[in-house]
């Protein structure tokens, strides 16, 4: 299965993240998964005319194209011309190249939230009229339109994340190579369900603090980041706290809020990223699937029941009270 990878209105960070894959040999992992890089901007040898010839051969059908991966938002501006990104050496806007190649691809994959929904490039008043391949924020459409289906009959596969976890990209490509990927593998926003059916909250190392609503008050505190510091882990779809980033990490492990980067529109939350918006002292964004009255009642109860250890550690940058040692056997 060949893969053509293009970059447009983004930062290249999803590629950089991919290169952090926790594998003894990334190139061999891809090859063993029957993934052959037709061209990748950071890895391949070919530059210039050789690349343009390859793209044209794909569009003409002379070169079969199995997977088109696009990283970065699609820039439609100024005034619909696409001139905010003209592919070097071609005089042709990148949005035209991508649309022509997507028409030929068996599968089209948006790598990262920019390519999926527009992402950070579409923030503020969206100066470049950036959008995703098949979404403009959370509205279906984008560059290719809602009716687009790739050669295999699938909509764009949105491997959303800012950046994407290397595992999300590799496992998506491997599943495609295995022929294991159908429309049922995608959630309602086109994201692979294998990682998007989880919440960032699942497996968060701060869960004991969450249970007791023992909250961090300033950056570097160990407590739960939801009440004050903007964390959206209880609503954000991803398995970030179940598969480690860079060997040992995650955003919440790094001491900062989940900003829900797999979600369309995360770039404009309507409040400062690291401050929780509240009404009457209650965070506006409550955990997914939890009725507000229950949350308020449980929060009040758990706050009143917070162990002293949890309360003290929540506002410290390292544990100051250790758990009591108890015999746990039945004697």
């Amino acid at each position: 299965m060949n893969v053509l990878w293009l970059q447009s209105g983004g930062c290249g960070g999803c590629t950089m993240s991919l290169l952090c894959a926790d594998t003894p040999n990334l190139m061999a992992t891809l090859a063993d998964g029957d993934i052959d890089l037709l061209w990748h901007p950071s890895l391949s040898e070919a530059s210039g005319a050789a690349v343009v010839d390859l793209l044209e051969a794909c569009i003409a059908g002379a070169q079969p194209l199995d997977v088109l991966c696009v990283e970065g938002a699609l820039l439609r501006g100024p005034r619909g011309s696409g001139r905010f990104h003209v592919l070097a050496g071609t005089g042709r806007p990148m949005i035209e190249w991508v649309a022509a190649l997507a028409a030929r691809a068996r599968y089209t994959v948006a790598v990262g939230t920019c390519a999926a929904y527009g992402g950070v490039t579409a923030a503020a008043f969206n100066p470049t009229d950036a959008c995703g391949l098949q979404y403009d924020g959370d509205t279906v459409g984008g560059l290719l339109g809602g009716a687009y289906r790739s050669g295999a009959g699938l909509p764009v596969i949105n491997v959303a994340g800012c950046p994407t976890h290397p595992g999300w990209v590799i496992e998506t490509l491997m599943a495609l190579a295995l022929g294991d990927f159908d429309a049922g593998a995608l959630d309602a926003l086109g994201r692979p369900r294998f990682y998007a059916d989880h919440l960032v909250h699942h497996g968060c190392a701060r869960n004991e603090f969450y249970e007791f609503k023992a909250s961090a008050e300033k950056p570097s505190d160990l407590g739960c980041l939801m009440e004050h510091l903007g964390c959206k882990g209880t609503q954000a779809h991803a398995d970030c706290n179940q598969r480690p980033w860079n060997g040992a990490g995650s955003c919440t492990n790094g001491g900062y809020a989940c900003i829900s980067c797999t979600e369309p529109g995360f770039e404009e939350p309507g409040h400062p990223f690291a401050r929780t918006p509240k009404i009457g002292g209650i965070p506006i964004g409550l955990p997914s699937d939890m009725p507000k009255a229950w949350f308020v009642a449980l929060a009040a109860l758990s706050k009143s029941a917070t162990p002293q250890r949890v309360r003290a550690n929540a506002t410290s940058d390292h544990p100051v009270v250790t758990p009591a040692i108890r015999h746990t056997g039945l004697k």
Binding site: S8, G10, G12, G13, M16, S17, L19, T23, P24, N25, L26, M27, A28, W39, P41, S42, L43, S44, E45, S47, G48, A50, V51, V52, L75, P78, S81, F84, H85, L87, A88, G89, G91, V120, T121, A123, A124, P127, A130, P163, K218, P219, S220, W245, N246, G247, A248, G249, S250, C251, N253, G254, G255, Y256, I259, E267, P272, F273, A274, D317
Partner: protein, 487 residues
């Protein structure tokens, strides 16, 4: 004379187009086009000041932490907060981890594969270089990528993830390091040191860092030959191809460094501008910077502006423009920046000697990066040892409703500056001058070309499938980051 337009370049970060006028087989003039505009400076206006910490790392996936560092420094300058000693060390470790990973990535993945191309088949050095550095298929790609990934596990512990961390803050780091983690960080550094000493250098880091002249460099190669390691392989082919004569910047004999890795009030590597012709170190002040938009697709004042007053208004139809990149100038002069500049400004004898010998060129730019790998890893080991578990990593400070701040840091590719103006508690103006903005600057109002544009002049052009290899070597010797350039 013929005009050719080259692109897309790959194995640079982002998209790049270069136009060349060629006469008698040599480049007579060059124009560099950064063809992607995203508008971060427009996006940042009106945001809460601390939101810069979430947005600016996303300017660039390969220089993400350095963008965070510049934002944190600008915010700290505006609020007056000083990070506690642990926090300063943690932030230096994050930035150094990214900078060294970038040098490593540049050498193994971006730069060296060009010497493994068919065009060089038959050269006496080619066989082992092809086996080692062939794009995607060489043994280096197989071995260096996992070594890089392991090294960046530092970021998992220090910063949650890489790229795009929010651990770096004006008051230090949001992530305290516990005693066991400190040991783990040291173990990862030792592992990376071991890899570099076995594969890249074939020598102790300290021995490479002690090379003090051009003669010493070649003597080091000759002592054990190209079998010593990957750096020696490069030096052997660099001597055979005379890469010291390639990509020189004749009129850009000035080397800018903002100074790197501040600790206890002073940077590890000094700040300044090294004037190679005069053999003089000039002071670098943020007020000495102006940005000219005469050849950029940007509207605004025809006069070059200090970044605090800078504007960013796209104008795709502007006559005479050929790039989205502004033209930054230091005291009106073109400068180049990067590892070579950083080491020359700091006074490292080998860097100074390389600059005196042939200025910025393909050899000296690449050697300086490798030198920096050898010099910085021991410092990282020291910073980890100096961390005192239990002491704070972060200091809080309120952001005033009206303030200005400058953050000057060193990314892998050189001098990165953020100029921040806060009014009414919101970002009023945010201007970014990135390393490749300096190096890949277009012409200014006086018509003076930027550093790469000058470096390409005189390059012998033998057409290789439409993209002359010598041009590719020169371009990649700068390790350009195009997504930072325009942002």
């Amino acid at each position: 004379m013929s005009r050719s337009i080259l692109g897309p370049f790959n194995r640079v970060e982002g998209d790049l187009e270069v136009s060349l006028d060629v006469e008698d087989g040599r480049v007579r003039a060059a124009w560099v086009n950064s063809p992607l505009y995203r508008g971060f400076e427009q996006i940042l206006q009106g945001k809460a000041p601390e939101d810069a910490l979430a947005l600016v790392p996303r300017i660039c996936g390969i220089c993400s932490v350095s963008q965070s560092a510049a934002a944190a420094a600008a915010l700290a300058d505006a609020s007056g907060v000083v990070a506690p000693p642990n926090g300063a060390r943690a932030c230096n470790l994050m930035l150094a981890a990214e900078n060294l990973a970038d040098h490593f990535t540049h050498f193994y993945l971006f730069f060296m594969p060009d010497f493994a191309r068919e065009a060089y088949a038959g050269a006496p050095w080619f066989g082992p270089v092809e086996a080692r550095f062939k794009a995607i298929h060489g043994s280096a790609a197989a071995e260096a990528l996992p070594a890089r990934a392991r090294f960046l596990q530092l970021m998992g512990t220090l910063a949650g993830k890489w790229p795009h961390t929010l651990s770096m803050a004006p008051g230090g780091s949001t992530r305290a390091i516990l005693p066991a983690e400190r040991v783990r960080l040291l173990a990862l550094l030792r592992e990376f040191r071991g890899w570099l000493e076995r594969h890249l250098f074939g020598d102790a880091l300290e021995a490479v860092g002690a090379l003090d002249s051009v003669d010493a460099l070649w003597a080091w190669l000759d002592a054990r030959g190209p079998e010593r390691g990957d750096m020696a392989r490069f030096l052997e082919l660099a001597r055979a191809l005379d890469l010291a004569a390639l990509g020189r910047s004749p009129d850009a004999g000035r080397y800018l460094s903002h100074g790197a890795y501040p600790l206890d009030g002073a940077p590890l590597f000094a700040r300044g501008v090294w004037d190679a012709a005069a053999g003089r170190l000039d002071a670098m002040d943020a007020d000495d910077v102006r940005e000219d938009i005469s050849h950029a697709w940007l509207g605004g004042s025809a006069e070059a502006q200090p970044p605090f007053a800078g504007e960013t208004q796209p104008d795709a139809d502007k006559p005479g423009a050929y790039t989205w990149c502004k033209a930054p100038r230091w005291r009106g002069q073109v400068v180049q920046t990067g590892a070579l500049a950083r080491q020359a400004v700091d006074g490292h004898p080998l860097a100074r000697a390389l600059v005196a010998d042939g200025g910025g060129n393909v050899l000296s730019r690449v050697v300086a990066r490798l030198l920096e790998l050898a010099r910085v890893v021991p410092q990282m080991e020291r910073w980890v040892r100096e961390i005192v578990p239990g002491e704070p990593f972060f200091a809080a400070a309120p952001m005033p409703d009206a303030a200005r701040g400058v953050g000057l840091v060193e990314a892998a590719r050189g001098a990165l500056g953020h100029w921040l103006v806060v009014r009414n508690g919101r970002i009023h103006n945010y201007q970014i001058v990135a390393p490749t903005t300096w190096n890949f600057s277009p012409r200014d109002a006086a018509g003076t070309p930027g550093a790469l544009e000058q470096a390409l002049v005189g390059t012998a052009v033998e057409d290789t499938a439409g993209m002359p290899l010598a041009v590719q070597h020169v371009v990649r010797s700068f390790d350009p980051c195009m997504v930072c350039t325009v942002h």
